[in-house]
Symmetry: C2
Subunit: 297 residues, 2 copies
Amino acid sequence: MTNWATRGFVAVDWGSTARRAYAVDAGGRITDEMEDDAGTLTLARGDFPASVAALRERFGAAPLLMAGMVGSNRGWVEAPYVPCPATLPDLAQHLCWPDDTAAIVPGLSFHQGTQADVMRGEEVQVFGLDALEKRGGRTLICHPGTHAKWIELDEGRVQRFRTVMTGELFSLLKRHSILADLLAGPASVGPAFLDGVACGFESGALSADLFGVRAGVLLGARQREDAASRVSGLLIGCDIRTGLGWSDAADEIAVLGRGSLTELYAAALDHVGRRTRRVDGAAAFVAGMRAIAETIS
Amino acid sequence: MTNWATRGFVAVDWGSTARRAYAVDAGGRITDEMEDDAGTLTLARGDFPASVAALRERFGAAPLLMAGMVGSNRGWVEAPYVPCPATLPDLAQHLCWPDDTAAIVPGLSFHQGTQADVMRGEEVQVFGLDALEKRGGRTLICHPGTHAKWIELDEGRVQRFRTVMTGELFSLLKRHSILADLLAGPASVGPAFLDGVACGFESGALSADLFGVRAGVLLGARQREDAASRVSGLLIGCDIRTGLGWSDAADEIAVLGRGSLTELYAAALDHVGRRTRRVDGAAAFVAGMRAIAETIS
């Protein structure tokens, strides 16, 4: 009996600002990939059929398995959230089918008491991490990003998760705030970043600490060129405070992602004394999509 | 012996986005006032002489006593910060004189250990509150605004202060963030605001709680029309957590300001069980300027 995984398919990570697609062959190897900026925010609902047709032209006849904001209420077709706790089979049972050879993976929701949260796209990476690591047990996953996620995984089940708007806040501060002229440069791991992490982790007064960066530069107490790293450290330190205060799931944290932001989180967690392991986000995404593709015949 | 206060003068509160001017007669009464949007951010340095000339034409020959961002490094003439602890005579001794009939009140700075902070304009209101109330002793002042200030006043001396970027963050979220479409309406005191205050005051995880507002609406757990009030409550609750965690100066807090934002802070402080008294910001500004004018002959 064949399924999409054994026939080969195209895995599409279609977010709000970017789109990445991977041709996955019958052996699970990536044979082709592309990335462009055709994020869902750039498309009206009526634009999706043409955008998908272009993907099919690029990748040939293989079926499309898609995840991310493409399934949101501003995407191609809305795939309603699956509530936590949720497993990979739960996701696979609730695929949304725009047509016979295109399926959209739903996102996850969490709602308990006053806490409500949603994700779209990260859930595939989380189940992919589980498939790659085959550890079982409890894992606390930190997924850096525009909206960073802290996720509790227990025996293949996402129990709950929490989103922190860290990346978006940094972007707002950099583009539109009174701190903007201090944040033109890149943030990097170093004393200014790590001091910021320690302060953000301890103080719990982020909106005051952020203003203090500007005041410190004005008063000559801080170097202007350190400001971007310090602000990044404050935000990430506060993010980690939120994530670690919220969960006691593990001594060691799986940092799931790719690129410089993931480096910053790993360095910050190390600085506050937590052990981490790194899992590549793209590898986890493809592994998660392949595990879902195995359920589709 | 005459001084500016006994001769009459014009008090100018010249901020980054707006300018308010009050003609103050020899008896301390406001005989004329105006407000416009000629904030310092709208002016290049070379624009100030003409802008000041227009003020003089509007108010006649009385001398000008100015405070706020007009004395910043992007203002008319820079008036260097006076470091805390500082009294009203300290400010008066460091006036900056662009010409013979125009003086600029310097701002205050605070720098101790890793904390650095600055203010321009609020210091006049603080000393004005002191002049109006004549209470002496220790007072904790909450000054709502784009950059809210918490200020410790002790026997007429500003000991230290802390800025929280609450108003600016609300504005960034409303104009540019993923929450923007939820924040179009006004925030007002009511259950959604007060729930937000309690949550922001308790949780210390502002960037996560903010995202939770959007998730709550998406999941149908919260009303869309409550979102602006809830976000305002979260931000102000977190601000109060910062201010009260930072200072133990008083059981009762003087809320200094004017308008709806001041109402929200007073309601929030009441909701977390703190007594408040209200002091009108414009009255305090004029009283503070008059006390400084008395030192100028």
